[in-house]
Symmetry: C2
DNA sequence: GCGTGACGTCGAAGCGCTTCGACGGGCGAA
DNA sequence: TTCGCCCGTCGAAGCGCTTCGACGTCACGC
């Protein structure tokens, strides 16, 4: 293994000079820097991560805790993770993967052993049991999603309330008067994941504001459940012409179900969704949707963390504004 | 930060004794071990990962390179990753997440800086550009999938050839005489990912052995493409009664397409698939399938790596035998 | 009774890097 | 001309841990 002293000798300088040439933490003459860089290249020098971490008390590694529970949409998690890794690399950091399963112990372990400098936690619940730990940890963290009380924490997510509103407002603008929200599986509400409830809030508030008749329906992530909900909606709200879907796996099955029940999309029924663009585009009838900006959330989460590591203050809450893309699944209301 | 000297003082022993008590690398009296453990608990001691890595030249971290290209099925990758993390934890290791995108440089970086002790590489191609690097690296690695030449490497995967054979043999046993394979998207074959070709080999070989008429059809991962393939099959092989599907996203759309073309599954057409059990079970007609054992592959990959890190020899190739689960999509051939 | 090991513990020497204080030389200001 | 200061570099002191050799003790066998 080639070490910093080898580089120093080869470049005719001291090890500390090599270190400063690499880190830029002290001024180094152009000439010396050149010689050092050349020596590094010629010898193929790579600083030892452990030694670095020990001496500088910075590991340049971030922890990412991913969820693995029922009701989460895997591709979204994956995109998010990839975006975190990619962004972290831009800041010369790596990413350690933890599973939700490890829980508090896992977080404490990687933080206390100085394996990581900071943490990113996904799938935050309203009363997430990890909150006290994250508050007490000496290392900065960012949460994806919002707990009930975000005091002293840093959170980021799509503004799901606004997303729900945007969907309703779009439908209202098209003249629809009776709308329904088909939401996430019941367990998602039961465990009080904030984003699901926020959508409901936004949906309901906007419907009330616009004077629309509305209803909310949690739904299992199976085609059969989708069909049941479709039938129920038609039975209970025969005047229904607008639907908002916040449940990735059943988006397509639900549209199928409506069509099989004799409703054309968007002819008889307009559908909007809150889901990744990728999914919205791949449905048979491309769906007007509010995008789930996983890549952007991941990128910003890392940037927030970098700021905190740099000692800067960051806002406690970052809500990404929803952006709606109009596709083929919505149209002005026809008929009476 | 509480360090090993604090623990030593508190327990009335020397730091080296604490170290040995923790690692068990030298015999320690029961009494001393007890005192040390108590001191650790009372002080909340956590060994500093960097210091450990520096002194022992072991970071206890594994690198996992995940693919992000088109044509791969995200949930499978995710399950695999989770199983790697979980298994690694059982061996007191953590997992660093790298993306394919980082390429050779990324691998070399984490290996050369001693950030990781060993590497797991997914989505290996027949002539994977990373092979020379992995061979030359001083750190052990395991590949998920098989390159054309696995000399000097350690590879593990489902035995896809056998999987293809098992599917055909199952259909043959049910009396089917004309079969087709609907495979992965063309790009998967173009870039010569071994597993896709292996399935074709097994499928073809078994069909020939059993004297079945057979054909092979790569297929894009879209419902529209599935429908086109279904139509084409009916046109070109009107006597077709058995289909093997090796393409997760279109499994359900393909069955839908067949049924819309007037073929009942399994009445008129038997369908088997190579896919995760989870998917096979969630289709409207549960599909007889060979499981994609991502969790098992991940677990065994880590175990292989641990053996290599322990200095033990491991087989170059590990092929997991396919296991078929019979479900509702296959039935004996009826008619003439 | 003494040599021989095994056992349990200690002290010291690093592992490879960062960082702090110091120092010489050059330059501008007084 | 001299003082002070900044620039560029060096040396040394750790960072917190593991590991190696050494040493004292005890039990055992001859």
């Amino acid at each position: 293994m080639v070490k910093i002293t080898d580089v120093a000798r080869h470049a005719g300088v001291s090890p500390s000079t090599v270190s400063y040439a690499i880190s830029g933490k002290r001024p180094i003459s152009e000439e010396t820097r050149r010689r050092v860089e050349e020596a590094i290249r010629e010898l193929g020098y790579r600083p030892h991560a452990g030694a670095r971490a020990l001496a500088s008390s910075r590991s340049n590694v971030l922890a990412l805790v991913i969820p693995l529970r029922a009701g989460i949409h895997v591709p979204v998690v994956m995109r998010f993770a990839v975006s975190v890794v990619t962004t972290a690399r831009r800041y010369d950091h790596d990413v350690l993967l933890l599973t939700q399963e490890e829980g508090d112990d896992g977080l404490r372990r990687v933080a206390d052993t100085a394996l990581v400098d900071a943490l990113i936690v996904m799938d935050v619940q309203l009363h997430d049991p990890r909150l006290p730990l994250l508050r007490s940890l000496e290392r900065p963290s960012v949460m994806i999603g919002f707990p009930a009380d975000s005091e002293g924490l840093t959170c980021i997510d799509l503004d799901f309330k606004a997303a729900g509103e945007v969907c309703v407002e779009h439908l209202a603008r098209l003249g629809h008067r009776v709308v329904a929200l088909v939401g996430s599986p019941p367990e998602v509400y039961v465990r009080q994941t904030a984003f699901a409830q926020r959508v409901v809030q936004g949906f309901t508030a906007a419907a009330d504001r616009s004077g629309l008749a509305s209803s909310v329906h949690p739904c299992e992530a199976s085609p059969a459940a989708a069909r049941r909900v479709a039938e129920q909606l038609l039975r209970e709200q025969p005047a229904l012409t607008g639907v908002v879907v916040h449940n990735e796996p059943i988006l397509e099955p639900l549209i199928d179900a409506f069509e099989q029940l004799g409703l054309r999309v968007p002819g008889d029924l307009s559908v909007t969704a809150i889901c990744p663009d990728e999914l919205a585009e791949s449905v048979r009838v491309p769906v007007t949707s509010v995008a789930l900006p996983s890549a952007e959330v991941g990128e910003q989460a890392v940037q927030l963390l970098m700021k905190k590591l740099g000692g800067a203050a960051v806002p406690e809450a970052t809500l990404l504004p929803p952006t709606m893309t109009q596709r083929a699944s919505t149209a002005p209301r026809t008929g009476p």
